[in-house]
């Protein structure tokens, strides 16, 4: 056993030091291979059964755990340190830079078929897994969360209020709706990644990496515009501030207290499950725009399938990851069992996304999200300390809602703390 440990440690070390910036050569292993795959998407084991039935030489074992920030990422770090990480792991886009900075990902760009797969995925999701670099692919995109606006078509019509198409109209509608005793929406103070989606739509960038230094920019003009906008709605008490996804939050949607929800594609089932009494009354429209006639959309959520550092079989792992996220049968099953909205362009061909949805009055809502997906800025970059940044900004948002400080103050504090946190981990920061 000791010699086996030494051997695997040796080969992993050899690959990573020789690789440098270039992708390591990716050669197929000889003989049958067993891969471990850690995910938290419900039903993924059933999807993998399809693969296992057709690939007797590359068997995949699925391990399901709590979702990434609830423990699985920390487990990945521990396992990488201990040298027994799974071959494949599900990793959300906003956590990928962190895994990469900690040297936790294999560059699979040289593996067969990986580089050619670029065209099969929505552009911006490919940018997330390559970090915009030539010769680098650190994961295969799995799902995405393009954003649009869910709204109560019936209430808007009955009240004679136009469905807003710009943020300016949205604010005006908020006042009219408040006059009727309801809220246009809820401001989710814990969901800082939702707020980032708003900044993303506005063309803002929170992080940039020039290959050497990280540039932190939570307080860019675009970010400030979004913060000021929502601060204004909060100050005038035009939006509620319930904890999102809580029972009371669900209840306020169910009772018609909320007229809109600007959210991601996966929110469709959250809404239909949390607010069953309002079935048939909702519709989906593109996100309100900052400029009249604009088409920009933000993104909230989404994840990838990455090959983790130390895998003995990166070629087979990459092959499986590609199949998992492009095979029509696999995508259909992952959507049915796990609610996955695939990052593959072919997702629009899936039956599940073709028809009208009863809960949304029979509207073909996935057409709206497909459009939104193509209008997401492909260059958005996440930083390597997102969990920390989310916590810091969320604390500040909470304080702002409590009346001390503003959303902008929260971003300024988050900016400073993020820079401190990067420095404390010896990650170079540009200033």
């Amino acid at each position: 056993m000791i010699s086996a440990l030494a051997l695997s440690g040796c080969s992993a070390g050899g690959d990573s030091t020789e690789a440098g910036a270039e992708a390591a050569p990716c050669e197929a292993s000889e003989g049958p291979v067993t891969l471990n795959f850690t995910t938290w998407v419900p039903g993924m084991d059933k999807v993998v059964e399809l693969w296992n039935a057709e690939n007797p030489d590359i068997q995949v074992q699925v391990q399901t755990g709590p979702n990434g920030n609830s423990g699985t990422y920390q487990n990945f770090f521990n396992q990488i340190q201990a040298g027994n990480a799974p071959d494949l792991g599900q990793i959300e886009y906003d956590a990928l830079p962190n895994l990469r900075v900690q040297d936790g990902l294999e560059n699979i760009a040289a593996c067969e078929g990986v580089a050619d797969a670029q065209d099969q995925f929505v552009d911006w999701t490919w940018g997330q897994v390559t970090f915009g670099e030539e010769g680098s692919v650190y994961a295969v995109p799995q799902d995405s969360g393009p954003m649009a606006m869910y709204y109560r078509a019936d209430l808007f019509e009955a009240a004679g209020i136009e469905v807003p198409t710009t943020w300016e109209e949205y604010a005006a509608a908020a006042e009219q709706i408040k006059a009727q005793g309801s809220y246009i929406t809820n401001f989710p103070k814990q969901d800082v990644n939702w707020f980032a989606g708003m900044v993303w739509q506005n063309g803002g960038q929170w992080f940039a990496n020039d290959g050497e230094n990280w540039d932190v920019n939570l307080t860019s003009p675009e970010s400030e515009e979004v913060a000021t906008y929502w601060q204004d709605l909060l100050s005038k008490d035009l939006v509620s501030t319930l904890p999102s996804f809580s029972d009371e939050w669900n209840a306020s949607f169910n009772e018609g207290q909320q007229w809109t929800w600007v959210s991601a594609v996966w929110g469709a089932t959250t809404l239909s499950d949390g607010a069953p009494d309002t079935a048939g009354k909702w519709a989906v429209a593109p996100m309100p725009q900052w400029e009249d006639g604009g088409e920009a959309a933000g993104n909230w959520g989404g994840s990838s399938t990455a090959v983790l550092k130390g895998s003995d079989h990166p070629a087979e792992a990459a092959k499986f990851a590609l199949w998992l996220n492009t095979d029509p049968e696999a995508l259909a099953l992952a959507n049915e069992l796990g609610g996955i909205y695939p990052a593959a362009k072919s997702a629009t061909d899936l039956e599940a996304f073709a028809g009208g949805v009863d809960y949304y009055g029979g509207q073909k809502i996935y057409e709206v999200f497909a459009d939104a997906s193509s209008n997401v800025d492909p260059n958005f970059t996440w930083g390597p300390t997102m969990t920390q940044t989310y916590t810091d900004v969320s604390d500040g948002f909470g304080a702002a809602i409590g009346g001390s400080g503003t959303l902008m103050d929260a971003l300024e504090t988050g900016q400073q703390k993020t820079i401190d946190s990067l420095k404390s981990q010896s990650i170079p920061v540009a200033e």
Partner: protein
């Protein structure tokens, strides 16, 4: 303080502690949509029927995963607490009844173990278990739960107080070996302390969450706490899990309540015995 004031304070705190459990009970009898749309602390018209449906769904979901988790928890906590109690009792008894060099030093080291939170040990344990390739096995959770420094402490002071040296002398004169004396004579005298140690260990292992979170990858090995946590973290993807998590939480506290009620008799008599001496 007058008796009625004391009763009032106790009443308020009883209410404070029981309300969440009451909420758990009422909410377990609701469908997903009723959770948000009905009064949170009262039942609905079809409570009993919905409760049975929820229970059925709970044990059917994911090929009966929940039942497996319950069994795992029972195994980790039941066997772990039993063996842990025997080890702690032997250790505490030896420290109380035998004179040997370094006795106090050993006792102090064990005692300082009470101060180290289990959470702080989880990561070092993971790295050690990784070395011997025991992570993601039942052993990874089972072996660390055999250790109970508090149990050693309790066993020592109880053995010192309740097992008379004369009795041990008499047993030796009668030709009984040390091990036989321990299991036939001493453990009976120490029974209340042993029940207490067992209960403490049982609850601690049943509620242990962080160690399994770090050690286990395979859902089939999860204890019920980690399983429910994993489900809870998936609610945003699979909203139907919300009601299963709630019913599952209710079911998962039942074994603890049963263990306490069943062993309470021994336990309270033990506390009483200590106080009179």
């Amino acid at each position: 303080m007058s008796r009625s004031a004391a009763m009032l304070i106790m009443g308020v705190f009883t209410l404070y502690f029981l309300t969440p459990i009451w909420w758990l009970l009422t909410t377990s009898t609701k469908t997903g949509s009723e959770i948000t749309s009905t009064a949170p602390l009262w039942f609905t018209a079809d409570s009993a029927g919905t409760f049975l449906t929820n229970l059925g769904r709970l044990f059917a979901y994911g090929d009966g995963l929940f039942g497996r988790w319950l069994l795992n928890s029972a195994l980790y906590a039941g066997v772990g607490a039993l063996i842990g109690t025997v080890i702690a009792a032997m250790c505490g008894y030896a420290l109380a009844k035998y004179e040997f060099r370094g006795r106090e030093a050993i006792f102090n080291i064990v005692l300082s173990g009470v101060l180290v939170p289990a959470t702080a040990l989880a990561l070092p344990l993971f790295l050690i278990f990784s070395r011997v390739e025991l992570t993601n096995t039942m052993w990874a959770v089972f072996l660390p739960s055999l250790v109970s420094p508090f149990g050693v402490y309790l066993a020592r002071i109880y053995a010192a107080a309740s097992v008379p040296g004369e009795l041990l002398e008499a047993a030796r004169l009668d030709g009984s070996g040390e091990i036989r004396t321990f299991f036939t004579v001493s453990t009976r005298l120490m029974a209340p302390a042993l029940v207490t140690i067992f209960l403490f260990q049982f609850v601690a292992i049943w509620n242990n969450f962080f160690l399994p979170l770090i050690m286990l990858r395979d859902q089939a090995l999860f204890p019920v706490t980690l399983g429910l946590y994993a489900w809870n973290s998936q609610i945003s993807q699979i909203p139907e899990l919300r009601s299963l998590v709630i019913v599952g939480a209710l079911v998962s506290i039942l074994p603890l309540i049963i263990a306490f009620l069943a062993l309470q008799r021994f336990w309270s008599s033990g506390l009483g015995a200590g106080s009179v001496k």
